[in-house]
């Protein structure tokens, strides 16, 4: 059961091989039995999950099931869900029980999916290692000494260990693709605006986008179809129809032009990552695609520009945590201002504080033009690079991260080194493009390597079809971490 795709799980429910209640108990059991060392979940609520499963079983019996009805899905703890504790991995929201559902949660509810639990994550989605969670680090199922990546580390580890069939995530600078790559699962960050941000705890609003992590491109197609679509409550939600991604999976890659940026295979890329990524691109050529070299000359400016824009937006978004309306409030203080200062000092972790301070500085009087305005101009240059590249190719392919998963603690004391490792994922967020990661091999210490596929705006169907074609021809996506293979 644990290794089945979403389609296979739906079939098992449709043929009465199993029920949603049994399936939900099964995955909750795996979380209990095998999941402990991973620390992939912040909140589980068996009663709530099983109540949804019972409702799903009734719906299935009425013959009203959709492709996700009755299937348990884990949600990153950044999505507000009514009645569920929603922490964003932070102490400041450690006891926050959301009074409403995020749009994505509503969508999964309408689809009849079962809410399996809240997945661990870096605090406020700020991090690339999941070491910044108030609820402790998540561990990589392939090697418990390694990070699972971040910030959607819990979602990624849960899917990799087959303790959740699929999970949601969010991606502001690589937070779906990088952990997907580090644990060997498939992860999709859709085009900015494709999925509503309503009810997602905000980090950097012009970069945040919700997406999904699953075992296959086919699973991602089903999840995206359920999540995507216009929502008036998100002022940046795209008003355009959602495509039938699952139905378009079989389009193949014949004649597809794959752009490989000449800047990607530089000294920054570890050889044990470069080799599987090159082999994966060769596999696409065997399948009928052709490779064209493209240039992204400004991509090296992406990380510096991102670390102006993202903290600036974060410092503004996180100003709402003041201990007045919800969340943590410090116990002792002298006056209102002191209450703010102490509440926020106690509530935020070190990385969130760093980003709030950087953001406050770059937006402060006298520095705005040199930092924020300049970063927005660089952002334009980065986006223009992609626009030019997509005149010559249909998809861009390359690495997700410059190395395989690193050891827990290895970069924890060097913020800048941690930031610089996001050089392949951040440009996509700045441009607002969709990107996905699929497993394509293993590097040092047997740790997984992901291939990044970047599409033009709203070209998710083509990206998923290409990923699907690759997964029909290879079996990297079917590898299970040792210790998690058994039923």
């Amino acid at each position: 059961m644990h290794n089945r795709t979403l389609k296979e799980l739906a079939e098992a429910l449709a043929t009465k091989e199993t029920s949603s209640v049994e399936m939900t108990r099964y995955f909750l059991g795996r979380i209990e039995k095998l999941g402990k060392p991973l620390n992939a979940f912040i909140t589980l609520d068996e009663e709530r999950s099983l109540a949804q499963a019972r409702a799903a079983d009734l719906r299935i019996a009425r013959g009203e099931a959709g492709p996700l009805t009755g299937i348990p899905i884990a949600h990153k703890d950044l999505f507000c869900a009514k009645g569920w504790r929603t922490t964003a991995g932070s102490r400041i929201l450690a006891n926050f029980v959301s009074p409403y559902d995020a749009h994505v949660i509503e969508r999964f509810g309408e689809a009849g999916a079962v809410f399996l639990g809240k997945a661990n994550m870096d605090e406020f989605a700020m991090g690339s290692s999941n070491e910044n969670s108030h609820f402790g680090p998540v561990r990589n199922p392939w090697d418990l000494a390694a990070v699972p990546g971040g910030s959607s580390g819990g979602s990624a580890a849960a899917v990799a260990a087959r303790i959740a069939p699929a999970a949601t995530g969010t991606d502001t600078g690589g937070s779906i693709r990088q952990p997907a790559s580090f644990v060997g699962v498939s992860g999709l960050r859709p085009t900015y605006g494709r999925v509503s941000r309503y009810g997602i705890v905000a980090f950097a609003s012009s970069l945040d986008q919700a997406g999904a992590l699953g075992k296959t491109a086919g699973d991602l197609a089903i999840l995206l179809k359920a999540m995507a679509g216009f929502d008036a409550r998100d002022s940046t939600s795209a008003e355009r129809p959602v495509e039938d991604y699952p139905a378009m999976l079989g389009s193949g890659v014949k004649g597809l032009r794959i752009g490989v940026p000449r800047e990607y295979f530089s000294k920054d890329l570890a050889p044990d990552v470069a080799a599987p990524v090159r082999s994966a691109i060769d596999e696409f050529v065997k399948l009928g695609a052709k490779v064209v070299e493209v240039g992204l000359p400004n991509q090296h400016l992406s990380v510096p520009a991102y670390y102006v824009i993202a903290p600036a937006e974060a410092s503004s978004n996180l100003s709402r945590y003041d201990g007045v309306r919800y969340g943590h409030r410090a116990a002792g203080f002298t006056d209102l201002r002191d209450m703010y200062r102490k509440t926020r000092a106690e509530g935020f972790g070190a990385e969130a504080k760093r980003r709030i301070l950087v953001g406050t500085y770059v937006l402060s009087h006298g520095y705005y033009d040199a930092y924020y305005l300049q970063a927005q101009k660089i952002r334009r240059l980065v986006a223009n690079d992609f626009a030019a590249a997509f005149l010559e190719c249909d998809l861009i392919m390359g690495p997700v991260a410059p190395s395989v998963a690193f050891d827990i603690g290895a970069k924890a004391n060097d913020a800048v080194q941690m930031y610089l490792a996001d050089l392949y994922t951040i440009p996509i967020n700045l441009a607002g493009l969709p990107g996905l990661s699929i497993p394509c091999g293993f590097g040092a210490k047997g740790r997984p390597v992901g291939l990044q596929v970047v599409g033009n705006y709203f070209d998710e169907a083509r990206m998923l079809a290409a990923a699907h074609a690759f997964q029909q021809a290879t079996d990297w996506h079917a590898r299970i971490p040792p210790g998690f293979e058994k039923e």
Binding site: S315, I356, Q374
Partner: protein, 94 residues
């Protein structure tokens, strides 16, 4: 390079209390991050239009009518301190 005074000023603007030890560490970290960002500052961007957002579309407008339901009780149930439907904070006016 940020001075100690600048770090203290930023922390105050951000309403974050820093212990002396934290302020010292934060100053070093912030200077490291700003040095990394400096690579971007050297680029000539004359004539480049700033990109504030991935979409060029205009902001959507809606009809001027109330659409939000009154959920005061649900929202105040999760507040640290309320009384008679109001949020309580320390006294600000003597």
């Amino acid at each position: 390079m940020l001075s100690e005074e600048q770090v203290a000023r930023i922390a105050e603007l951000a309403r974050l209390e820093l212990t002396p030890a934290e302020a010292l560490a934060v100053r070093e970290q912030l200077n490291g991050i700003l040095a990394m960002i400096d690579e971007m500052k050297a680029v000539d961007t004359t004539g480049i239009e700033p990109m504030s957002h991935p979409q060029s579309a205009m902001q959507r407008l809606r009809e001027d009518r109330a659409t939000e339901p009154d959920r005061r009780e649900a929202f105040q149930a999760i507040a640290p301190a309320t009384e008679d439907g109001l949020y309580l904070v320390p006294k600000v006016i003597e």
